[in-house]
Amino acid sequence: MSFIRQFLAILLLSLSGAVQRIGSVLTIIIGVACAVGVLVSMLAMGAGVMRQAMGNVRDDRVIMTSVGARNIQSSIPRDEAVAARDLPGIKKSTDAAPVVVFESMVPIEARRRVTGIRVFFPMVGTTAIFTQYRPEIHFTGGREFKPGLHEIIASNPCGRQFNGFDIGERRSLRGIDWTIVGRFDEGQSQQCKVYTDVETLMSAFNRNTYNMVSVMLQSPAEYDAFLKALQANPALHLEARHERDEVQQDLKPLKGILDFASYFVGTIMAIGATLGAVNCLYSIVDSRRREMGTLRAIGFGSAAITVSILCESLLFALPGALLGGALAWAFFNGLAASPFGFNFQLAVTPSLGLTGIFWALGMGVVGGLLPALRASRLPIVTAIRAA
């Protein structure tokens, strides 16, 4: 009991003196704020990538590729693709057709609006039923492509990032003029997506196999039955994955790099901030030697002193964390970035804010430890005599 009373008394005393030591206190707060701000804004990249990619993911969508291959390496013969439509558990569209899309991808190029730098991304050939497979698509202009006519639709981020995606514009692929006939938004996605009719695309590019066959299930619960039927069918050499797993697999390396970079830079900044905090707390403790000595002399325990200094350190770190998180949010939340060709908006989420606070408390504890110990070990007599 007396420990708590002593502890509170010292803490109050410390805080009431904080105004006189405003320089040191501000240094701690700003150091922590910068370290937390940097960590949070860098982690916001990884969070933005995931939010962006997972935003449109649905549990009832399943992606099939040929066994052992992914994306563009996968190759699914037409007969297998058609047979896959008869698997059980697949959702039926309004006109009783199974919601299954056959997709084939070819790389196309575009130039960035600002820099003029050439960028490659896939154009996806897909089946007419794709609007039911991807209900998140909303047309904002023009219309859907028509089979056989070499028509393309492009998402609005394409138009924002690249030249040549306005409705009516043409581009030459395989010596054929392809016309942009529609523009759409795909959920919240900032990624440029370009679709066309799969059969038209494959005949233009002399292809006979699809890259992917994707189905929408009646409900996510049908997945097991669907998978069992797929594996039991000897004619189908396909492997199926939840859309969620597919997307996560695709993003793993990027997320890994971003998070590593975040914690690497965040750690260096934190070391700097902690060193600064140690310095400031030492000078605070030094300037209060006489006070500490007096407290000890009138019977305050050294444990109470240690804990109260530690607590003071944490209390200075906390506003730093809040400030840093707020700055990160103000400067970086929603900022568009496209490292590694993946377009997303940085997302400063509450959980990142929490990470920042823990990070700051860590700096507070480590930074406060040595000064707190010194404060409690001051020899009383010399401390009282100190100038």
Binding site: L26, A33, C34, S41, M42, P107, I117, G276, N279, A337
Partner: protein, 381 residues
Amino acid sequence: MRFLPLFWSGIWRKPGRTVLIFFQVSVAFALFGMLQGLKTGVDHAVAAARADLLIVHSRLNFFAASLPSGSIEQIKSAPGVRLVVPVDIFGAHYQEPTEGLGVVAIGLVKDWPLAFTYSIAPNYLAAFQKLRTGTLINDALAKKYGWKVGDRIPLMSNTAQVSGSTNWAFDIVGTFSDSDLGGGRYTILINLAYLDEARALGKGTVQHFNVAISDSKQAATVADEIDRRFANSPGETKTESLQELAQSQMQAIGDMNFLIRAIVAAALVALLFATATMMIQSVRERTLELAVLKTVGFTDRAVFLLILAEALLICIAAAALGLAVATAVLPLAARFVLGLTMPKIVLAMGLAFAVVVALISAAIPAALAGRLKVAAALAGG
């Protein structure tokens, strides 16, 4: 010079504080050096990438698609083209599937090295031309596996031989080094004629052509002209200079520019606060000593400079340590950017920043110290 002991003792008045602030400055500048070094290093590497070397590859897919070998004549006939070399590439591994390396098969036309970024000793080059199964290995590989000239290296690959076997063996005839950014870490060069004869599939096709042009300023024009020749054919091409390739490869880091600047700014602001507080604190504690100095005849100006010099020494020495650490660490990132080293300009920038930080943080305390009224200070003490 005679003030040296004086200001040395000023610095070590509180060793703990000096050491802490020293390391704090070092850490900040190590971070600065790494981030700015990465950014500037990549910019330099892109600028240094050869603009006079073009790569003609399939428009469909850089790695997976191939072009007919016969395209070479049409490329040669484009104006401004100096030399065309057919190239095929495939992946192979040595003993374990994880020990991958890239195999570059080169059509050994006359003067072919002119169209590459490799440096090869003349005797190795001659041996390579002579032995059909010969291979040149890059220095990194030679070091990694301890391979020597004369060794025969067995490799496994997805590319099958006519016999159906997917095992290949090549005789090492020499080594080479590559100055290209995107050249790959572990590569070997082999004879395309031998590969084409021995492989089961893909005969008569190549993955790309290396083209040397006579005027690097004409790169875009020549590239467009080459692509025009293949437009609407099944073997549509896409021609890019090595510089353009490097640029798009390194685009990622270019996009991070704003973030890198923000981080560096945050680190320096935090540092500025820390050093300024430290200097103010230090001057305040030394009021008495500084007053004594003035009493014995030091001018205001001398005291001002004394404080400034202390801050400068700590900041510059600490920044130098930080930048040295960054210089040592940066080559580790060469896994992503081949041949990345610390650009001198970044070191100069870092030291300049250190001076700025020192001057700003010491300006107020040094002015305070300079203006110190002796009588008041001594009385107050």
